[in-house]
Symmetry: C2
Subunit: 205 residues, 2 copies
């Protein structure tokens, strides 16, 4: 299998952590790719993903699996199932729903970054940036007040949460999430003890 990724992508980081934690990392060839909003990236769109998003998993038969959630579920099943996403039981829908929330928070953080740092100067709409940052920030408050998330065995919610917090450090270094959310700070520090989390941390901004 091949996985398209960039070191800066929090969605690719989620899959990289999942690949290590499920023991499948050695079966995946990592292919660095660059996609940027407002630029064509025609080859990537044609051959891999019309959405021009990272990551994509290219199976040995040539089929392409997207998005980061589906890839994680695929790897989880390949590793025996139920390791990162419960296949039954009462937490199942909570885990899936919490993961969707975290994924949407990442989407909003990327939109906020594009608005502030990629869009040409003079075309920024402050209310849009504020709105999307607020979605991520309000979402973090949900997890600050959900102590069960941090105390469970590793799952896709914890992985996605560490990707959200790492992306906040990477692209919004001054946002002050550690001060506002001390329990998330403790969770993040504990997660960094895992080699999968440490090795996949974004580069210096």
């Amino acid at each position: 299998m091949k996985l398209t990724f960039s070191p800066a992508s929090p969605f690719a980081r989620k899959v990289r952590i999942a690949a290590i934690e499920t023991g499948l990392i050695d079966r995946i060839e990592f292919v660095a790719a660059t996609v940027a909003p407002g630029q064509p990236n025609d080859q990537y769109a044609r051959d891999i993903n019309p959405l021009k998003k990272l990551p994509a998993l290219i199976l040995d038969n040539g089929e392409v699996v997207v998005d980061s959630y589906v890839i994680t579920e695929y790897l989880d099943e390949l590793a025996g199932g139920g390791k990162l996403i419960p296949t039954s039981g009462p937490t199942r829908w909570k885990v899936k729903s919490d993961h969707s929330l975290l994924n949407g928070m990442l989407d909003s953080m990327l939109l906020c970054r594009y608005e502030k740092m990629v869009r040409p100067q003079g075309l920024q709409w402050q209310a849009w940036a504020d709105d999307h940052w607020n979605r991520a920030w309000t979402g973090m408050a949900r997890f600050e007040n959900a102590p069960d998330v941090a105390s469970r065995p590793l799952d896709i919610v914890q992985i996605a949460l560490v990707c959200v917090l790492g992306y906040a450090d990477f692209r919004f270094a001054d946002c002050g999430w550690r001060k506002a959310y001390p329990k998330l700070d403790a969770f993040h520090q504990k997660m960094l003890e895992r080699p999968s989390v440490k090795i996949s941390a974004p580069p210096a901004a």
Copy 2:
């Protein structure tokens, strides 16, 4: 159960079709909600979904399930499982991956609409709008060239595809998708024979 929705939301439409097709429609109370980018919607963010997105499914125990994919999977399982999303077999990952692609196409179409019709005049970035429209358009070409999708029994991919095409009619009436993609036109017409698809069509723009 309660479902937040708006008649204009293609994501809510997907769940409304799924609710009818799984026979669960009578167990769901539909709650109209309005969310708009760049506006606070604080109550919805606090009580239901920090992402301020539709739809959200509110279970009888108060738990909230997001997003439209997870809600559809939840309803599918509640109805016995495997009706709209295969629970095993070779098409399983193809269906999940194709659905993610279609969902991302909808995301891009909404971003394109916000750019052109919601963002204040003078702040538009044409390359961003073009990029996102191109993702949806290139994605449609994928499905134009995937005859197996239209010929399978109903699944979440067909439902999401009809939501993409209906949204194109609703918000991008002049885009010419029928001319460019005649097989999708035939698929769309056939899908409109289903009451679930017809009744959930967006209002006149």
